[in-house]
Every structure is written in structure tokens, then in C-alpha cells.
């Protein structure tokens, strides 16, 4: 058995986004006798199949890939839940930045600036407690008015809203880029 080959296969399967098929393996590895490849793959599979492992190499979709074992699904879901909670989507970031700089502001005003409906983003920001509802605007329909929260300041390590980077500061940084390109 070729241990070197087995290690490389492990790496390739680990890194590949899609199930890695034999053609691709050969393309990367160059000349490899079929029997050797088979032997290395089988050995790799059985290594991971042996008890007590959390992840495994499986054959699926015409190739090999790493997956977690079904019995650990609940743990996986809990972790993903937690990671999701601490991150923002780029749409949410956009919405949050508008609220930060334009508060107090209504949903319609945010949507007007972004050019897309922002209801969903607001909901997710509210859930993350990065923004809060502070009342209603005296305007037709009495829309809700949003502000950033204490948690928002904490999240970004700010003492107060005055500490938000000013346009000139960011502009200066962005400016430099233009010069570098031209």
C-alpha cells in the first residue's frame, strides 16, 4: 500500500467542493496505476469507517467526499445555529449601516435608499438585537422608527454613535485606492 498516495487522496477529497471522482484524481496525480489508486482509496475509506470517528469518507454522486455521520446531526445543527446567530448577511449589513448613519429611520426610508425591500433584514437585525424600535413616526401610516441598540455599540466596540467612522475618514481610505489604481 502506498501511504503517500493515501495521504494525498485524503487532502484532495478534503479540499474538493464536489465529490471527487477518479478521473479528476488521475488528472491531478498524473500516472497512477488503477490498482494502486483503488487500494489507497479502500484503505482510506476503511480508516474512517473504523469506529469512533465523527467524520467519514463516502462514495456519492460519482465521487468521494467527506461527510459527517448522521448520528451527529443534532450537534451540527446546534453549531450552525450558533454561528448563524453571530454573523450578518451582506444585505443585513447594508441595512444596519443605513440605520447607523441615518437614525431614527423608517422601513420605507431604508428600502428607498437600498432600492430593495428591507423588511426581512430588519427582522433579522431585531432578532440579533442590533437594532430596536423606538416609536412611530408622525407621518401617514405611522411607520415604526428604528435605531441601533446598545448591543450594536458593543458589537462594534464603540463608546457612542459619535465614534462611528466619518465619511471623510472612510473616503480617505478609499481615495488611496483610486490613486493606486490610476
Amino acid at each position: 500500500m502506498n501511504d503517500q498516495l493515501k495521504a494525498i487522496l485524503e487532502v484532495l477529497i478534503f479540499i474538493s467542493q464536489e465529490p471527487l471522482n477518479r478521473e479528476k484524481m488521475k488528472e491531478v496525480l498524473g500516472e497512477v496505476p488503477d490498482e494502486e489508486l483503488e487500494a489507497a482509496l479502500n484503505s482510506l475509506l476503511s480508516d474512517y469507517a473504523s469506529g469512533g470517528r465523527g467524520i467519514q469518507v463516502v462514495q456519492s454522486g460519482g465521487g468521494y467526499l467527506f461527510t459527517t455521520k448522521p448520528e451527529h446531526d443534532q450537534w451540527v445543527r446546534r453549531l450552525l445555529q450558533i454561528e448563524k446567530k453571530t454573523k450578518l448577511s451582506s444585505a443585513a449589513l447594508e441595512t444596519l449601516s443605513i440605520i447607523a448613519y441615518h437614525q431614527p429611520i423608517t422601513q420605507a426610508e431604508i428600502s428607498a435608499i437600498r432600492g430593495v425591500d428591507s423588511t426581512y433584514c430588519l427582522k433579522s437585525l431585531l432578532q440579533k438585537k442590533l437594532i430596536k424600535i423606538v416609536g412611530r413616526k408622525k407621518a401617514p401610516g405611522n411607520p415604526l422608527v428604528y435605531r441601533t441598540s446598545e448591543r450594536f455599540l458593543q458589537y462594534f466596540g464603540l463608546n457612542s454613535l459619535d465614534d462611528l467612522p466619518k465619511e471623510e475618514e472612510i473616503a480617505k481610505i478609499l481615495e488611496e485606492e483610486k490613486q493606486a489604481i490610476s
Binding site: V11, F14, I15, Q17, L65, F66, T67, T68, D73, V76, R77, L80, E83, K84, T86, K87, L88, S89, S90, A91, L93, E94, L96, S97, I98, A100, Y101, H102, I105, E109, A112, I113, R114, A139, P140, F156, G157, L158, L164, P165, E167, E169, I170, A171, L174, Q179, A180, I181
Partner: protein, 266 residues
């Protein structure tokens, strides 16, 4: 990226094998990122004790390099010159007769020496970090979610304060650009349109500009009317008030009392 010059530092630290050429010390592809970089290089080249720098010698060498220009990062020329000025200043200080030995403590070079010592430490830290970087760049991690649960809807990001501010200001820039492109299309007589708008204001007292704008027959006319509004405001003929971004703009003739707005939401 373009502005950054690769590896001045590494080549410097391994430099002794430089090839001598006609005009003296020629180092392969040596470009000095900053003035301290160059100074340290000269000090090492001449095997000078950093705590006792012969300022006259170093100043001469330094200026020589500045004249060559091909070895300094020209974007940083002003900063190179600043240190040149400092060197000359220190030199002049040292030429002054030293009356009392007691003042020996304030060697005019001290500040520069401190800076060089600090910078030297930075450079060493850089070489160590560079090694770590090189090793890490050979290690790969997965950048995607393995096929466990269904993939999440949108990519989620770790955001920083910089991201927050950058996102906002870029968004505003984009908006601004869109508006500017729109204004370009004017071709209908501005004077006529201005008169028309003034006439409208005289009879109606004020106007809801967005309403007026969208009431124009052609897009071109609408654009000209917007352009006119800017002109009228600039010439202090009218007052325009916008309460919130992208909400309607209310326009009054000057003189008339600019108030009573607030109920105009689209």
C-alpha cells in the same frame, strides 16, 4: 496592490551578495520602502554602530541615494526628503560648539537613534512573521460548508466597523452616481423651464417637486426641471426642503415664509 512593492525587506536582509557595478553599490531590485529602511541599510552597509552614527557620512550617502531615485519608492519621495532635512538639522546641531559636557545627555542624534532601533525591531519581527506566513500559506482549509445540513440562504459575514462604514458610504456614492447620470441628459431650454417653474410657484405658493417632476411630459423635460430647481436654489430664488432622503422635495419662492411643511409624504 500596485502600490506595494514586494519584498524590499527580504532582499535587504540577505543583501551582502550584491553585485558591484560602475557607480558603486548596486543591489538587485532593491527598492527602499521608506526613509528609515534606507537609513538602516546604509548603517549596516558601512558597519556603523547604530548608537554612534557619523551623521556627516550617513547624510552624504543618504542624499546620494535620493539623487539616484531608482532605488527609492518615488511615491514616498516627500517622506525621504523629510528625513534628509532631519539629518542635515542634526548635523548642524552637532557642529554647534558644545559648551558644557554636562549637556552631553541630549545628543541631537538620540531621537533618530531611538526611531531606528524601534524600526529595526519591526523589521526583525517582520522576517519572523514572514516565515510563519509562508508556512501558513501552504496549509489549506475548507472555505465551504461540507454537505451536512442544507446550505444556508445567504453568505454570512463577520463584519467590522470598517465594513459597516464602508458599506454605507459606498451605497451613498452609488446613489450619487445614479443621480448624476440622470442629470446629464438635459437639452430642453433651461430658461423657459425656469420661467415656467417660477410662474407655477407664483400662482401656487409652493410645489411638491417630485409631483411636478413626474408630471412632466417627457423624461427629458423632467430632467431639465430638476436641473432648473438646482439653478433656482443656487441663485437663491427658491428654497427647497427635503426632510428625509428620497422623500419629496418641497419648494417655495424665497420671500414667502418657508414653513408649513411636514405633511408631504409620498
Amino acid at each position: 496592490m500596485e502600490q506595494e512593492i514586494q519584498d524590499s525587506q527580504e532582499s535587504q536582509l540577505t543583501v551582502p551578495g550584491s553585485s558591484a557595478s560602475g557607480d558603486g553599490y548596486q543591489v538587485r531590485l532593491e527598492i527602499f520602502e521608506g526613509p528609515l529602511d534606507l537609513l538602516l541599510f546604509l548603517i549596516r552597509k558601512k558597519k556603523i554602530d547604530i548608537h554612534d552614527i557619523p551623521i556627516a557620512v550617513i547624510t552624504r550617502d543618504y542624499l546620494e541615494y535620493l539623487e539616484r531615485k531608482d532605488q527609492i519608492n518615488l511615491d514616498r519621495e516627500a517622506e525621504f526628503l523629510l528625513i534628509a532635512a532631519l539629518l542635515i538639522f542634526i548635523k548642524s546641531q552637532m557642529l554647534l560648539p558644545r559648551e558644557q559636557e554636562a549637556i552631553q545627555a541630549d545628543d541631537p542624534r538620540q531621537l533618530l537613534v531611538d526611531r531606528l532601533l524601534e524600526y529595526q525591531k519591526v523589521k526583525v519581527a517582520c522576517t519572523i512573521l514572514r516565515e510563519k506566513e509562508e508556512d501558513q500559506l501552504l496549509r489549506w482549509k475548507r472555505t465551504f460548508l461540507p454537505p451536512v445540513a442544507k446550505p444556508e440562504e445567504a453568505e454570512l459575514l463577520e463584519v467590522s466597523l470598517f465594513d459597516l462604514a464602508e458599506t454605507f458610504f459606498l451605497l451613498m456614492k452609488k446613489r450619487e452616481r445614479e443621480n448624476l447620470q440622470v442629470i446629464k441628459g438635459k437639452d430642453v431650454s433651461v430658461e423657459e423651464k425656469m420661467k415656467e417653474m417660477l410662474g407655477y410657484l407664483e400662482t401656487h405658493g409652493s410645489m411638491d417637486f417630485l409631483e411636478y417632476f413626474s408630471g412632466q411630459e417627457t423624461l427629458e423635460e423632467a430632467l431639465v426641471s430638476f436641473f432648473c430647481l438646482l439653478e433656482l436654489v443656487k441663485n437663491h430664488l427658491v428654497t427647497a426642503v427635503q426632510e428625509q432622503l428620497f422623500q419629496t422635495i418641497r419648494v417655495w419662492l424665497r420671500k414667502s415664509r418657508p414653513h408649513s411643511h411636514g405633511q408631504s409624504h409620498e
